[in-house]
Structures are given as C-alpha cells and as structure tokens.
Amino acid sequence: MTMADAEGEARDERGDARAPEALLPLTPGALHILLALAGGERHGYAIMQETTRLSDGAVRLGPGTLYRTLKALLDDGLIAESGERPDPAHDDERRRYYRLTAFGRRVAQAETARLMRLVERAQALPGWEAIRALATLLAPTEAMPLHPATKGVQ
C-alpha cells in the first residue's frame, strides 16, 4: 500500500471534511469507475467490464486510462484499495481490489446530481421538444418500432 492509499483510507475512516463539489466536474472515466464501484469492490478487469456495461458500450476504458484514473481517484481519496481478498481458489490472489470510500460516494452523488440538473436545464431549452420528438421517431425502440405494421405478424 502506498502512502497515498494509506492517507485515503485514514481520511475515509475519520470522515473527509472536503466539499465534494470541489472535485467536480469529474471526467467521464472517473464517474463511470465510481459508479462501477458503487455496487461493491471490484478488481481492474471487473471495473472495465462494468463501465462498459453501465455505458452500453460507449465508454471502453483501456488499461492505461483505467489505472491512471484509479491512481488519481486513490490520490484524491475517492476510492481505496480493499484489504480483503476473495478465496484464492476462486480468484487470482495477485489481483488488487478497489472499493468506494464514503467521500467517493458523496462525490459520485454530487456529480450525478450536477449532471441531472444539466439535463433538466437542457430539456428546458427552446427547441428541445422538437429534438426529443425527432429522436423518438428515429430510434427503433420496443415502444415505437420502425415497422409497427409487421409487429402483429410476428
């Protein structure tokens, strides 16, 4: 464990006094990693898979981006290296596991709230209704299939 990890863990235990907003906005990669860890501690490859799943394949982190972002998150105390290891019979014991700290959870919540406010403001912009209607028309969703007439046949 590095000094930065130990500091992050100590900060986590005593409760971080920093305002989560001070670290916003997060990069898309950092937010996806925090969200991936919100479901429990994971190792690097599991984080990579989870970020791809969360973003429907839009965010595909490479090993370099993943570990540079993990390093930055560790340094900021948003995540910590997990001391617990799963049963070596079920997993490679050389893997390192990461978990979200309490402060990291607050930062992820603050960033999500910021993005939600941004979406609300975007939706209030003039012309948004027309854009959304057009997107709904173009998107081949189950609710509105591109060829409604053929649905009954199937």
Partner: protein
Amino acid sequence: MREPPSEFDNLPEMSGAHVAGDVREAHDAGQPVTPHRRRRATGVPWVLRVYRLAMWAYPSAFRRRYGDEMWRVARDADAEARMAGDVVVVALWLRIAADLAHNASAERISLMRPTVVLAAVMTGVAGVIAVLASLNLYLLEDGNPLTSAAYRASSLLGASYDVAYLSALVAGVGVCAIVVYAVVGPSRAATVSLGTLAVFVAFAGFGGLLVRAPLTFAALGFGFACLTLASFFVGRRVATRLRRRSGARAAVIGACVGCGGALLVNTVALTLHTLALNPISHPLYMQGQIPGTHLNALLIGLALALLTLALYALSLLAALRPRA
C-alpha cells in the same frame, strides 16, 4: 520511498500457468475447451508479449505500481475478445495501442514541470519553423537558373544555403529526440533508434547526391554527422549535469539544448544567406516576393525563425532555472 519489487518482470511465465489453469477449470466445470482456451493454454499470445515490452514506455514508478495489473487486464480482455473472433481482437489491440501511446506520454508529461513542457513544445515549434524556412529556401533556389550564377559570385551564399539545409535536418532529428525522451525516457534503445533515424534523415535529405555527386555527398554527410554528434554530446552533457536535480526530465532538457544548437546554426545561416542574397542577386531575391504585396517569403521565414528562436531561448531559461 521505493516500491517493493514488482511481479512485472515474471508476468508471461506466471500468466502462462494461470491461463493453463483456465483450461483445467473449464474442463472441470464441464465447459467446452474451445480452441481459444487451448491456444491460451499453450502460452502467452505474442501480442501480449509485445504489450509487456511496450509498457516500458510508462514511467518506472507507475509501471512498478500498476504494470502487472494493467498487463493482467489486457490479458483478460484479449482472452474475452478471442472468444468473439479475430476482428474483435484486432479492434481491441488497436484501442490498447492508442491507449498506451496516449497514457504513457501523458503520464510522463505529468511528471514534468510546466516550464520543461513549455521548453519542449517551444523547441518543437522552433524546429518545425526551421525546417519550413529551410524548405522554403530550397524550393525557391534549388533548380533555379539564377542560383548557380549567384553562388559563383559569392561562396557565402552557397555555404549558408548548405548549412541552413543541414542544420534544419539536424533540428528535425533533435525534435524527434525530445519526443522520444519525453515518451519513452532515456535508454540505450532510444539513442540507437535516434541514430538510425538520423541516418535515414541524411539519406532522405541528400542521398540522391551519392550517385550524382559523391564528393558533395561526402562533404554534406560529414557536416551532417558533425552537427548531429555535436548536438548529441552537448545535450548529453547538459542531461548528465541536470540528472541529480531533474531526474528523468534531464534527458528532455538536454535534448532541447542539443536541438537548440542546431536551431541557432540554422538561424545564423538563414540570416547570412538572406542578408547576402539581395545585394548579390536581386532577381533571385525577388523570386521570394509574394505577388501583389511588399512581403518576401525569405524574410517571413527568417523573421519567424528568429522569433521562435527567441521564444525557445526564454522557455529554456525558465526550464533551467532551479526550482524555488
């Protein structure tokens, strides 16, 4: 504080055992032992071995801390991609290659002081301007019927033309050296690669003369070699002096200083050439005139070279100044 020894160096062997375990586990779990699993069990794919070597592009502290984990992530992603087909494997490795190039250079640059980054960028800009200004000179004068008469009238013209051309080539190699030392760090392999590049640049720059005018080729080759070696040794001396204070960044600063020598020679040669040209061959000088304006392409090139050289010198002084 030094990190404990990493498993990084033994990765292929360890992962080979681990991957072989995959096949055993699949067999025990009643899953089909696919060709991909079997191929994995036979050893580590060559692309992972190449990736392991390429990971030396990361700074050593980062590599020791995260190198083995990154390699394991790449191995797992590779194994999953192989299940989906060769196209997915190719797409994955193209993405990983871009990821490596971007993040290794970003990680190295993040370790440098902003003044060092600025000096490296300014040297790059000055190097590009030197190459463009010398190329402009080449396009205006090489093959121009007025050139031979003007060069006969003044040996300074011919000599300054050759020196400007050669020093621009050396500056180009110097800029490549800065990029290489910034991205992969100083190493014997980096120096050998740069030496090979210098030979290629020399042949691309004036290799045609080897057949048409072997003596001129030898003279230009000698000049190019002298200037390249002088830049290299000056840069190395500076890097050696700065190593204790600046660590791995010293190689970048040294390359900036070495390249600066070529830039200085280039600007002096361009200045002498431009100053001598108008009185000796006014028609040749006027070839650089931009139609319908009072601007001359030679003067613009010279002005830009002087300006970027001055900015380079200022940025280098800032980089060399000891940290407060």
